[in-house]
Symmetry: C2
Subunit: 391 residues, 2 copies
């Protein structure tokens, strides 16, 4: 299949992804493949399309939520329960390298599109499923959204302030982690196919991905028997490594080893803290993190965030401001790295979206991204490519 111009280039040039997914985890996975050069054709439900088209905010009736993860993809509306559309889908499948879906476990089988059927019919196809709980185990048929796996996967139990109310991670980490692991698994399967000539199934569970993101909390629990709880803004095993209040706001300081801590006490003029036996090692500083924070904040109160950042930076101590989204998108480093790119928003006009953080020396990193597709916008072209004159 010809590669659409907006996705030319990249390691995945020539790869065709058929994407049945909706909302975020699957579309985020497909966007990674697109940004690596693949062509992504969204197969959407006729009439309503991807649920994300109906999630706000809206500009002139178009969802910017949808725009932000679907720029550069193509859209064709097919009803997989309609035999004619299903036949069209099968013809597309015969040309596809990757099929991506995020139905509940069992749905593809009911459509006659289960992996056992597809693997026989399309032996080179990589079939990737991203679902709430995966295609095996007692919860395989249960529905899930980001919020559910953030809660069930433990990250909410670690986020927030001790004794405070439940706190969600401020972005959809349940979807994003799963989408990125799914893209990684698809790349591994495509790599494998180069040697074996055969596709395989990639089964990614959002809950599993949250477990993979629990990081050292699992080790801490098994090592100590203590159930880890939320710690506000501080790190569980490193100190001082947190947000601290200064004269006019908060900043973060990450003095991750003894030498950085020594330099920090010099800048804050705290020789007594440097000599305090409670603060002699990282382990001991972590144990007394609250007492240490009080001492540091008393000193930090005497200056502004901007002043302290300048002095800490000059001393090579990792530190930073707590940026708002407005700060982030204007940040000179973010801009220099081409991390805010412009999508063709169609009726929205040129539209700023996040860029691709995988900077590859052999490929361009364009400052623009493709069009945000209207529902079914690419039907005629896709059917023509199949040698079908349309309906």
């Amino acid at each position: 299949m010809a590669v659409a111009p907006e996705t030319a280039g990249g390691p995945l040039a020539g790869i065709l992804v058929l994407d049945l997914t909706r909302v975020l985890a699957g579309p985020f996975a497909a966007m990674q493949l697109l940004d690596l050069g693949a062509r992504v054709v969204k197969i959407e439900r006729p009439g309503t399309g991807d649920d994300a088209r109906h999630i706000g905010p809206f500009v002139d009736g178009a969802s910017v939520y949808f725009a932000s993860v679907n720029r550069g993809k193509e859209s064709i509306a097919l009803d997989l329960k309609d035999p004619r559309d299903l036949a069209l889908f099968e013809r597309l499948l015969a040309k596809a390298d990757v099929l991506l879906e995020n139905y509940r476990g069992g749905t593809m089988e009911k459509l006659g599109l289960g992996w056992d059927v597809l693997a026989r019919r399309h032996p080179r196809l990589v079939y990737a499923a991203v679902s709430g709980f995966g295609h095996s185990g007692p919860y395989a048929q249960k529905p899930a959204y980001d919020m559910v796996v953030q809660a069930m996967g433990g990250i909410m139990s670690l986020t927030g302030h001790p004794g405070g109310p439940a706190t969600r991670v401020g972005t959809s980490i349940g979807d994003l982690a799963a989408g990125l692991f799914c893209a990684t698994g698809i790349l591994a399967a495509l790599y494998d196919r180069k040697s074996t000539g055969r596709g395989q199934k990639v089964d990614v569970s959002m809950l599993d991905c949250q477990v993979a993101f629990l990081e050292n909390a699992i080790a801490r629990y098994f090592a100590t028997g203590t159930v880890p709880g939320p710690l506000g803004s501080r790190h569980p095993s490193i100190a001082p490594f947190a947000a601290f209040r200064a004269g006019d706001g908060a900043l973060v300081i990450a003095a991750g080893n003894d030498e950085l801590f020594r330099r920090l006490t010099e800048i804050l003029a705290l020789p007594e803290a440097a000599a305090d036996p409670r603060f002699v090692s990282n382990a001991s500083r972590t144990e007394h993190a609250e007492a240490l924070a009080e001492i540091l904040e008393r000193a930090l109160a005497r200056g502004t965030v901007a002043d302290w950042l300048a002095r800490l930076e000059a001393a090579g101590i990792p530190c930073g401001p707590i940026n708002s989204v407005a700060d982030v998108v204007a940040d000179p480093q973010v801009r220099a790295r081409n991390m805010i790119v412009t999508a063709d928003g169609g009726p929205l006009g040129p539209f700023p979206v996040a860029g691709n953080p995988m900077k590859l020396s052999a490929h361009a990193d364009p400052a623009t991204r493709g069009r945000v597709p209207a529902l079914d916008a690419d039907r005629a072209r896709i059917l023509a490519e199949l040698g079908i004159s349309g309906e």
Copy 2:
């Protein structure tokens, strides 16, 4: 180079990764490649090794923090500033497929190991760098840790409760996102190499990855001009989609569309909410999310978390408990999906760690993982493989 037995199998079987990275982002990237079948040799600083060896908690003097992301890797201690060790490293490089490093920008150049030099000497090598800010732009030389990029990348401005103190995401999302994007970029480069025969550089910035994880917050900001803030436990564009208090604790409910909301009002016996014009659509429910939460919580207060979860589940409404880490590691689904596996902890004994969430149909997903390497534990074997008898 022979593949060590613990990493046999997987799409990356036969791939040798030399890993100069420390602490979390780089080691997490290398762990993904290991779980996909690659052999990972850690090159550590003589004497102290990976900084993570000194981050607690400790069991019998060994860091479980280190164990959790380094199981199955091999270790050799080399001082790249010592010409003899550098020569050994160069001999290893000649056999390697991937070099992974997480120094500050410019460090590899000072060691004579910059990409321009390596690319000429080892044209098939994939060189991956994961750093705080990437190898270009005004911050390229600045140091960073997870805490710094969580703050500078905007996710802290979205996490927590309105008006409350700064809140860190409870796991090291700054490191984990960068590690996973880095692994994805490496796979893309290895895939590319299958066609071109050449390696390339993969330059991943932790800050860039936070921008990529801001998700729709960027679109919301540009669409509305309003700077997004923290929203406690609720989703910015979907309602009801949050944690809610019931009689004996909190649960999450994610009624992501009109039909799910209708069913929820039935179960909670809230016909007046179903008919309320403020709650007629998702956009309108989001606008009145706080008023809606009050009504829902008044009804939820009449039952326990367990009761409500059973009733909501029976009605197919996505919901879940807010699990602690202890709950997560005991969860039957997590166990059924082999997401808690056992590493050979060496002196720690068998040690539970997170499994691999990329379930590939063509490869086994073993319930055990390799040994946690002591510093320099694999020197003799690695040198013997190079035909060097050792020091």
